[in-house]
């Protein structure tokens, strides 16, 4: 079993199962805060999947996309926090 098989048959299924579990919380979440947190965690798991996939396909260029995704995750959660607080104030 070399590195390729280990990543393909063990690490990627674990990451897929964990993203499915987060999806359950994303659909179930009682309030909107839970959904924002679950979305943040989904993008973070996506960064990990991109890192493993760049090893598997032997193309380190994919790691640039992970930087962009990290930026989007941060901006998204900050914007959600800002506007949720504002909406509450106006009502």
């Amino acid at each position: 079993m070399n590195v390729h098989d280990f990543l393909y048959y063990i690490i990627l299924p674990i990451l897929s199962v964990s993203s499915l579990l987060v999806f359950v919380r994303f659909f179930k979440g009682p309030s909107i805060i839970d959904r924002v947190v679950a979305l943040d965690l989904l993008i973070t798991i996506g960064i990990g999947i991109i890192a493993i996939y760049s090893i598997l396909s032997d193309k380190p260029t994919f790691l640039d996309i992970s930087l962009v995704l990290a930026l989007i995750a941060f901006l998204g959660s900050v914007a959600f926090a800002y506007y949720l607080e504002k909406r509450n104030k106006n009502e």
Partner: protein, 131 residues
């Protein structure tokens, strides 16, 4: 040797990400969920990216990976703090078994001001002078 390091880091990273996902599903409270997210997922993704850097062993890949890791380590606590703050202001209750709430009764939710003890006395004096 290098392959063994890739096995260890990627395995630990996947384990931490799985623990973060299980915690997000099973924790009883939003604040606990935010805590699990920030700690476990940040460490797990950092380890997965380190596995990529160890596999390629290239200067450009390593600098990119270090940039992503530093960015995640800086921004994850900030966003978690902001979301927890918003969740407190919206009025979400704490879990029934967590009994420490330091901000209870000390925080003006509309003006976002902390009411310390001295400030409260000042306000009382002002109202006495006015009356």
């Amino acid at each position: 040797m290098n392959d063994i390091l890739v096995y260890i880091t990627s395995g630990l990273g996947a384990l931490f990400v799985l623990l973060a996902a299980i915690g997000t599903l099973r924790m009883p409270d939003q604040y606990l969920r935010i805590s699990v997210n920030t700690k476990a997922a940040t460490l797990g993704v950092g380890l997965l990216l380190t596995a990529a850097a160890l596999f390629f062993l290239d200067l450009s890949v390593t600098t990119r990976v270090i940039a992503v890791i530093i960015f995640i380590f800086i921004t994850a606590p900030v966003s978690a703090h902001l979301i927890g703050r918003t969740s407190y202001f919206i009025g979400n209750k704490l879990w029934e078994n967590s009994y420490i709430d330091d901000l209870k009764g000390k925080y003006n939710k509309s003006t976002h001001e902390l009411k310390g003890i001295n400030q409260r006395e000042d306000n009382e004096e002002e109202t006495e002078e006015k009356s």
